[in-house]
Each structure stands twice: as C-alpha cells, then as structure tokens.
Amino acid sequence: MLNNKKIVWLLAVLSAVSMIITACAPQTVTVVQTQVVTVKETQKVEVPVIQTQVVAAKSFTKPHPVLGDAKVRQAIAYCTNRNELIASVYPWLPKEEQGNLFMNTFIPRVHWANEDGADVVKYPFDLAKGQAMLTEAGWTAASPTAIRTNAKKETLSLKFTTTNAAFRQTWAAVFEAQMKKCGVEILRLHTPSGWFFGSTTGLRRRDFELGAYAWVGQTDPAGRTLYSCTQIPVAENDWQGQNYMGWCNKAASDAINAANNTLLKDDRKKFYKIAQVEFAKDMISLPVFQRAEGNAAVKALKNFKPSTTEYYTWNSHEWELDGGRDSLVLGLTQEPASMYSLVESAAVQRVVAKLVFGNATSQVDYDYQPHQLAKLATIESGLAKNNDVEVKEGDPVVDSDGNPTDAKGELLKLAANMKVQNAKGEVVTVKAGDKITMKQLVVTYQWVANKWSDGTPVTKADFELGYKQDCDKKSGAVSFITCNSIQKVDFTSNTEYTVTYKPGFQAPTYFLAPIGYYPSQQVIQSEKFKGKKLGEVPPEAWATLPEIAETPMGTGPYIIKKWDKAKSITLEANPNFYKGAPKIKKLTVVFIADTNQAVAQLLTGAVDALGSETLGAGNEVKLVLDAKDKIQTQIKASGTWEHIDMNLNVP
C-alpha cells in the first residue's frame, strides 16, 4: 500500500522526470495520412529586411524638414482654432468659462509669472493668415482643400503622436480636421501612455513630430527642465532632460536658468517674461488649453474652498456641516498605495495626507501660505540669508543648472570646466585654480509648537529623524536633489532648525521647509519590529510598516482609525490638532474608481464631496451642475495644460 508520504514523493519524482523528458525530448510527429501534392510553380518569397541605423551620440542635429521652419510652426498655430478644441471636450461649459482655459504661453494666465502683454506674440485663429504663411514657406496647394506640397512634390504631412485617452482622441480629431483646412495632413497616432511616456520610448527618445500631452502647472513655474538648452534629450547625454522639442534659444535658455537661480519674485518675473516672449515667438510648442477641473460638494458643507494648485482637503479643519451633522463622506477615485509620502506621490495620497499630516505650507491660487511652518523662511522675513562665500577647487557646490550631483550621481565639487553661478548672478566656467565668490543660503525654519495625535509634543528628535530618514538612499524616495544640496543642518530647538545649503544652491522655493518630522517616540506594534521605536527600524523597511503605510501618526486635523482595503478609510477628528479639533468629527473616504458611479453617489447622497481628481471634467460634470439646488460645484481652469510639442530636429 502506498501511504501519503510515498504518493507525494512519487508525484514529485514524476513531475521532475516528466519536466526533464518534456524539455529534452525531440518533437515527434505521427503522420496519420499522406497526400502527394504536385507543385506546379514556385514563387520566391522575399523576406523584408529591416534597415536600421544607430542613433548617433550627437543625434537630432538636423533640422526637421517641415517643423524646422518657424513659419510652418507659426502657420500651424494660426490654423488651430483652440476655442473649437476646447468646446469639443468641454461642451457643457459656458462659452465665457471656455475662454478662461485659453493660453498664450507656458504659464497659466492667472499665474503671477504669466506675461500676456504686447511683447508676447499671440496666435488667434486666422485661417487665411495660416494658409498664406504656408504658401510663403513654399508649401502650396492646387486647390483650397488639397494637401499642400513643396517644390520637390513632397506632401505637407505630419505625424501627430499622443496617448489613446478618450479625451485626447476627441480634440485630436478636431485638430486633424482644422489642419486639413489649412492643407496640412495629420497622421494621428494614439499610443498607449506606457509607450508614449516610457523610459526608453516615445517622448524620452523624441520619437514624434507633433506630440500632444500635458504638463502640470505648479505654484512655482519652474520650467528649467523643459526649456533650457542643457535639457535637450539626445543620445550623447543619455537622453536626460525634458526639452523634447530640442529648442535651444540662448535668450530663453539663459532666462529660464536665471529664473530658477534667482530668489526675488520681481527679478524672476523679468526672466520669465523673456522666456515666454521667446517661447511664443519661436512657436516650438503650442499651448492648446488649460484643462477644466470640477470640485463638488453638498450645499450643507461650509468653507469648501478648492484651489487649482492645492488639494481640496487643505482646509478640512475649517469645514462645517449645516443641519447638526458631524460626519462627512468623501469620494476618492483611487485607493492610495501607501500613506508613506516618500513612496507614494499620487494626488489621492496627498488628498488624504492633508487630513492626517495637515499643511506645513499650502499652495492656494499659485502662492504659498504658512501653516505648521510658522512663517515662510524668506530673505524678506529675516529668516534667510544669502551670504557671499569664497569657494575653491574641491569644495562642494551646486552647479548653474541647480544640480548638486553629476549625471552619474556623484556629489559635485568645484572643478575646472564646471559651470557655476557666481555671486553676481553670472554663469561662469571654472578654470583650474580659480577661487570663486558664490552665494550661499542659510535658512532658519521655524515651526509652530505642535503635538502628535497621541498628545506627545513634536520634538527636535522628530525633525532629526525626518532628516535621517528622508535623506537615506534606502528610504524609497525618488530624488535626493534637496538632500544633496544641503551642506549641514543645525537642529536648534523643538520648533526650529537651520539649514546651510551648498554654495550655488539658489532654488526659488528655498523658503519651504526641506525637512519634515516623524514620531520618534512611536513604538512599533507590527510583528517584525514589535517593541522597537520607529527610528530603530531600517529605512528600507518603513514602507512595509502598517504604522507608516496605513495608520501613520500625524499632526493634522484627522486621525486614521480604520482602513478597509479596497473600500474606505475612516478618520476621526484629532483632539490635539494645533488649531483645535475640527468641527466635523468623522470623515470617511470611499474609493470610487468610476466617475459615473462617483457622481451617482453624490447625487443620491451616499457621498458628500468629490475633488477634481475624482470628478474631473468629463460630461458627468453636467449632471452635477444640473443639481445646483443641492450640490455646490466649482469649475476652475486647472494648472494642467494640454500642448502640442513640435520636434525641431530629426535624428
């Protein structure tokens, strides 16, 4: 008799033997029936040979045969009826509000750095002008509706690459029709976003002629990675940078670099103006429109103040409900992957993080406001000093591109041939033996006296743990540019620390606290590190801790009480919140992936509020707008803007 053990052994041996036999055995074919076939004629089948060419290190140096001509690019801009494109995706939006989505430069019109004056070339829809410019550029048409050709009989045909998102398919189809009226043939290519935004495909390899996608406009306009001459991805620089157009305009490049190396707002405005004027003149990227975004909540919710540059839960501590209710349900389009902010940066995480951690600073309406950081640590406030220091070869510095490391990740030290910004704000190339006077920022960050949700005060040790963890290479963070730019940190009290940055670090957002805090007193309860304090857990293991990933301790207005995976997060008011416990005692965040479903739940009262990340700006918004007797809806021009990049070079 075979007992169980023997059977298991037998099966195991049989499996192994069978796998080996299967792998090694030659294929055997049993011929069941044969038939004689007379071959009457033979045909040679030619296998197509793919001719390939390695893209050289100094690639993308030849101008694009069509888009290399500024006249053609400008003609495309004139031929584009952007109002029609906006109407195609937001038909439910009143005409006036559709107009608010219009953009002339890479900075939204309501932004402090926007320049919309006469110096900026505008491209209002003008079919005749666009056609005339194309003719002038040598592209003519036999009839008004025909596709244009040049003297070599080449047709004016451009590949238009974008993602397959339904929203983009809609406006791209309208764009194609508009171009046809101008005699430009558009070959639309809607690719999966995985390819278009892939690390070795699509945009990163500049594999497009016209490429449509969106950038997210920020409170700080940044822009260096997008428009500086040093940020053009080519094989030579391992495809680093996001200037996918390959645009190198010295005036614009210098201006965008200077704007990102200057601390005073008024000075920065001047530099951004130069960059925007050049951007519009050269027409290397057509800003199509700012996306619309909707936020909606039941009318009973008071102080609901969403902003395009801030997550709508930023002021949850001010929210109140009419009618004696003290619980609120929020709909969220996706479950956060983790509450550990270093490894999860999705908007859905930030929406919940604002509830749990509160705001160090907020970014309402393209500006910064202090909260738990007591003051913005600006030069004007006296908390920051920009000292002149003499730097010699071998001293750690940040280069003129704002990089504290080289492309390989090695920390930079002043060396010959390096480009740095001197104390006068000039970009200079270092010569051997040079001593250069550079600016060095020393900033003191002052925080409010705060308490953790368990009632213990936030201490110096918590800030120290924050610095240690966030700057540890194993912590899970993506970029260490700020950590690498820091020369030293002095933790002076439970509410204050001073950061001395490396010479050359002149980031415009220096006044925002670079270091946060973690509850160093927290004792871990989960199995693997049970009984240890948080600071004793290896940095790489933090992301695995339920105490960090699911129910983190914070200093925000709410405390996570329960996380039902795939369903909801339940939060309760934090009695130790520094501004006092919020009036709404219980918040539930429900995960609702589908927008139709989210809207249906809002209309039936199952949820009370939907932020822009969940409601979006699709046709569902109309349903919410129609229910104005019970729902308050705010439609805003989002910081996210659609644009068509024009690739100026070919490999």
Binding site: S15, V54, T200, S338, E344, G402, N403, V478, T604, V607
Partner: protein
C-alpha cells in the same frame, strides 16, 4: 484512475510552468513599467537615482534570474556549501546598462537596445545577498506589490478582494443556473411557442448588449430616478455604505448590516445573472433540442413513460452533459470576477484589481492574478474531465 491522475498532475505542472514563463515574459516586454512616471514629472534625476529605482523593482537583473527569483525565490546570493561561497562573482544583471537607440531607416520607428553595461556596474550573485526576496510563487509567496499596495504583500490585496468577488460571482452563477436551466429546457420542450419566442428574443438581447449598458441603465432607473420619485431605491454601488441611509418601505438601513450588504449586491448580481442566463438559456435550449430528437427519447415515450419523466430523467440529464464543462469553467471566472460590472458598481473585487494592476504597471499583482487564474483553469479542466465520467457512464478515463 490513479495513473490517470498522476499523468494529469504532471501535465498541469508543465502547462503552468510554461504559462508562467509566457505571461512573465510578455509582462516584462510590455512598454511602460514602473519608471514611466519619470517622463511626466518635472524633476531632475540622475543615472544613479534611475539605477536605484531599477534595482528596487529588480529591473537590473537578467530576465531569467528575475523570473527564477519570482518563481522559486532563488538565487538569493552565492551558493553556500560547508561555509564556503561559490559563484559569488557570477554576473546576473547590470545596474547601468549601456543602451543605443536604433532607428528603422524606412519607417523612422525607433527602439532601444542594450549593448553592454557601464564598467563596474554589473550585478553579481554577491549583490543579491542584501536584497529582499520572496519565497517564490511556487511556494505561495506572491511577493510585494509595486504600486497598488506599495511594498506590502500581494496576498494582502488578494485577501481584501477575493471574498467580495466570490460572494458576487458564486451567488450570481448559482442563481443564473437555477434560472437558466429550467427556462432553457422549457423553451426547448415548447419550441416555437410564444414562450419560446419570447425567451429566445430576450436571450439574444441579453447576450448582445454590453454589460455596462445594463449596469448604467439600472443605476439610472433604480437609484437616481426612483430616489427622485421618492420610491424604493437601491444604492448605486459599493459593497456596503459608509453611513446609515433611509429607503422608503424599509426605513433606516444601518451601514454594514446584512440588509445593507444585500441591498448593495442586488444590482451587480442582477446584471451578472441577466448576462449569464441569456447565454445559458440558449445553450441549454440548443442542447435539449438535440437530445429530444434522439432515438432513446422516442423509445422512452414509446414505452409509455410520463412526459415529465422523459423530459427530466432522459432528456434533460443528457442535455446537461456538455453544460457541465461550461459550468466548471466558471471556476476561474468566479476568481477573476467581472471587470466591467465591478467597475461600474464600484464592487471591490478581483476583476477591478487586475484591471488596476495592468493599468498602473503593478506586475507582481497582475502576475499573481494570471497565475492563479491559470491554475484554476487547469484544475477546472481536470474536474470537468472527471465529472464527465460521473454524468456519462460511457466515458472511462485511462
């Protein structure tokens, strides 16, 4: 029978092994991946940082090594025998590959090829010692999630979704069988009757219309319109509500109560029942019509048996033989859930999980789903073959 089972088991292992290779390779070759977010964010990032992220996702290891670590959790470092290490310097990957971009001269299409490794950036078996490694899916460890539940076990995700999927799928499949089989059989017995025409038209309609159509229609009618009219209405979605709510006729419904859960299940379940019944009614009807024409049915009638006995005992039992396969293959479906229904009704099930995992490049989750589905499919095939011997005595397995 024992020999047959052993043989089948071995075959199943082989099939699963190759299906795992195929799906793992395809997943690895798919464009996108966990690094694609870097192209969309305005951040400065250097090669070292990219190398670190690649290493975190094991993308710096050669595909067979990555596959082996995923499948059986090996290699974890050099081979250790008697306190001595062997093959520690064996190269198993590269932190910073040297890539070249190649262009098709005729089409202009570009792609990237790896042509080497930056000197000193090879990954050796020694480097694997400090890395966290799963025990391998072959031993039930699906590893950690890349995105959806970042750094935490994939099994946690499955555990959180599976009960909801099973609850929805098993209930709806059972009810669909209980409804579909008698209707299909009766429709066949009463062929060309008004009932038959009605059922046939309805079944065609049910099979033709997409699931989301029924789902959205139900939400519109039974939730939004009924609520506006002040009638009895049903919750639009979720597995349960976040707070108590009021429904005419029923009164106050407590969040999380059995009644709450049942109310939430009615609409998604109804949609799945409708779709399944539509398909199965047509199948049973066709199968039954074929059986009713058989000689043994005529013989049974000639013997003077009651029509009820002829239909149920002689005809229906035989008509159900091919149906067994259909039903058994619902096993992987019961695990896999129903992507569209789950999405529209916001049901926290496995279908949605798989969809999200693919969309957000969480390959460990997607692979776990595929492997479990493949396993259930081969098990279903075996059960189906075994059941044939039960329902059809003429079949013998050797």
């Amino acid at each position: 029978m024992f020999n047959y089972l052993v043989r089948r088991f071995v075959q199943m292992v082989i099939v699963l092994f190759f299906s795992a290779i195929a799906s793992y390779t395809l997943m690895s070759l798919a464009p996108g991946g966990p690094l694609s977010f870097l192209a969309q964010a305005q951040i400065q990032i250097n090669q070292e940082e990219i190398a670190r992220i690649r290493a975190f996702f094991e993308l710096d290891l050669n595909l067979p090594v990555r596959f082996s670590r995923w499948l059986i959790g090996l290699p974890r470092g050099p081979i250790e025998i008697g306190g001595q290490s062997f093959f520690g310097d064996l190269i198993v990957g590269c932190r910073m590959p040297i890539e070249q971009t190649v262009r098709d001269v005729n089409t202009g299409k570009m792609w990237t090829e790896v042509i080497g490794c930056v000197p000193g950036q090879d990954v050796t078996l020694n480097d694997l010692k400090d890395r966290r490694t799963s025990n391998g899916v072959a031993f039930g460890d699906f590893g950690t999630s890349w995105v959806l539940l970042r750094d935490r076990p994939v099994s946690l995700l499955i555990e959180s979704r599976l009960p909801y999927t099973l609850q929805l799928m098993i209930t709806s499949l059972t009810l669909a069988i209980l409804i579909g089989v008698p209707i299909g059989a009766y429709s066949a017995v009463r062929q060309y009757s008004k009932f038959d025409y009605f059922v046939t038209v309805l079944a065609f309609f049910g099979s033709s219309m997409p699931t989301f159509f029924f789902a959205l229609l139900m939400i519109l009618v039974f939730s939004l319109i009924f609520k506006d009219l002040g009638w009895f209405w049903l919750p639009t979605g979720n597995a349960e509500s976040a707070r108590d709510f009021f429904i005419p006729l029923l009164g106050n419904v407590t969040a999380g109560s059995l009644l709450d859960k049942v109310l939430h299940m009615i609409m998604p379940m109804s949609v799945l029942i409708m779709v399944n019944v539509a398909g199965w009614v047509r199948f049973i009807r066709g199968s039954m019509l074929e059986v009713l024409r058989q000689d043994y049915v005529r013989t049974a009638r000639a013997k003077g048996l009651e029509e009820r006995v002829v239909i149920i005992k002689h005809a229906l039992r035989n008509a159900l033989i091919p149906f067994v396969t259909l039903v058994v293959f619902s096993l992987p479906a019961a695990f896999g859930g129903a992507i569209i229904t789950e999405t529209v009704f916001n049901w926290p099930g496995m279908g949605r999980l798989y969809f999200d995992a693919l969309g957000r490049s969480d390959y460990p989750v997607a692979m776990a789903f595929l492997l479990i589905t493949a396993t259930l499919t081969v098990i279903a095939t075996l059960i189906s073959d075994l059941l044939y011997t039960v329902v059809d005595p003429r079949i013998r397995l050797h």
